[in-house]
Symmetry: none
């Protein structure tokens, strides 16, 4: 994947000892473990090194700080985990997709996710990684479902899809960060259903 980590020289050809992919993976795995065991802030670069058997110098060679490592470690795990349900009914698909998101938010990964969001305002790397590799992935699934729903006439065609997505995901994130953090599928369903019908009493 990459993007977080500093790119190799990539100059003339392939001179010099190549980067050890094994070390790379060991670092990501160790970091991932630590993220779940002790959390983003309590985790130290030293400990990542010790657990992965990779020296601190090497870690700092490829990542600017532990947050960048964490972002890559966490997000590389998340990749390709967001299947599009495609049941035939766009409405059902939407429900399923958002239930999936809810499960993510309320699970162990959701805690790490919240910690990374907290780091984002202070760290550009985390911010861009998070956006590129997770936020967009979430949105893409919904965007596809949305397109199908518009095609089938289930969803309003006059709405900017990005607005629709914000309306669907936003409430879940809000609950995760500022409300009752233990979401369940049922409450997700309720929120989606209301969003579909609207708040207005007007017919």
């Amino acid at each position: 994947m990459a993007g977080t980590r500093r790119e190799p020289d990539a100059g003339v050809g392939k001179r010099g000892r190549p980067r050890s992919e094994q070390s790379h993976i060991a670092v990501l795995r160790a970091t991932s473990e630590l993220l779940h065991e002790v959390g983003l802030r309590a985790m130290t670069t030293e400990e990542i090194g010790a657990r992965s058997g990779v020296s601190k110098a090497t870690i700092y060679k490829w990542w600017p700080n532990k947050y960048a490592v964490a972002a890559e470690a966490f997000l590389s795990e998340m990749m390709a985990e967001w299947p599009d349900p495609d049941t035939g009914s766009a409405t059902t698909d939407l429900l399923l997709a958002l239930r999936g998101l809810t499960a993510f938010y309320s699970g162990a990964n959701g805690r790490v996710f919240a910690e990374l969001i907290g780091e984002a305002p202070f760290d550009l790397t985390v911010r861009t990684e998070l956006h590129k590799n997770l936020v967009l992935a979430h949105r893409d699934v919904i965007k596809r479902v949305w397109a199908r729903g518009v095609a089938t006439g289930e969803f309003r065609p006059d709405i900017d899809p990005d607005d629709a997505i914000d309306l669907l995901i936003g409430p879940l994130l809000y609950r995760r960060l500022l409300g009752h953090p233990h979401l369940d599928g049922a409450s997700a369903d309720t929120l989606v259903e209301i969003t579909m019908l609207g708040l207005s009493a007007a017919k």
Copy 2:
């Protein structure tokens, strides 16, 4: 206000020199300045002390750590700043209230707010302060408007008001934290309007 800061002994009687209210205020003011100038993380307790002329020991006597100071400093500023518009039309009021929230999110205070949200997962004090003194204030305004709208028949009476609030605020927070951070009133209006009408094409 408070609750964040440690309460004075208050038990034995009232002997001895009382807490200096002047120091208290100076700390909050200095902290508030620093929050805007350098941000939550970069700000140090040392610097708060230096700028306010209050010693570090005194700061730690009254607050558990710099995040608690920050929370109190920030939130005491925010108090009583959320007027209920009450124009007669609940729909208009809702629009106005959410525009106000949008302005807050996208302004200088919004940045500090985002930083505090980032601290919340790691710090119970921040979490509860934030909730008690800001989140609930935001919700209360909307809750009142909502009640009026239900009474006037503008809003659906069959929805849990808390769900409605989540649906209205959530998308704004989502944009603030993970999307285009420069929200404007117009896009807030759009989101609210769509939320009112719903996403479904069904009549």
Copy 3:
């Protein structure tokens, strides 16, 4: 003593917690031990801290680096260790003083001394400390003896005392650093005697 270590503020009066003299002493003692056990280069600041129970931060607060600590630790031990023999005969006194110096050079402290001399070209603090607190002490003893010898008519009165001192100490240092490092009293005596009589065959 001091001079090596950074001086306290010494400003208005005596505000603030005073420097812990206990920590100061513990650091010097630990350093002194380490100097003899592992030598100047192999000794680490970390280890000084661990052994003395003083934190690294505190050490760096008072000394710029481990070499300055070593200089102070070593030299504070050496202080007031250079008694003037004063037997009545200046010639005898000279012999005794230079035997003492030889013993110092060839003993355990001589090794540390040589290591510090090696650091001097790279470190101003070490250089000045060494000069102020050891070199001058050595020279002073001899200078006093020299004055007596001139008064008694034993030594040539037409020689700059500093030249005389250089001629007497120089060969010992040379042997210590570049020749056979295990000097003994007898060879010191020989060198001094020759220096007294001169190399020239001319009467």
Copy 4:
């Protein structure tokens, strides 16, 4: 020359590419430059490699560490630089030889020399190199002059030549390392003259 650097395999035969003499010279030249520009300690192996176009691995193949490289680089420059004056008068010759030594000590090379002496206690290679290739060279010149002076009756025949040499060189080194480091020819002359006549007032 050498002895410092590891000898090539030379056992099995002469298979494979022979050692590049060009690299060898480039390393020594680069090291020599760095020794004068930044000094022994500040100079890094990395930089020697970069400047000479020789890889670090190659350097470590032929020398045990940077101090050994420095010793060879410095000393190979010094070789055959110590001409015996031989004017006819041994006394004059002695003066000239020691003026030469003084000039060396007080010049740019003297600084490097002092730095190498500082390394000697920690590094056997440096120690032996220094002794073999510089100290002995210095002493040899004087030793030859001394022999002539004894033969001509100018110098005392009852003194161990090595003692005489120590007495003559020692004071210069002492001044270089622990006293006023800017020696000049005149002060060297003074020291030698006093050494010749002796310090004693006795006839």
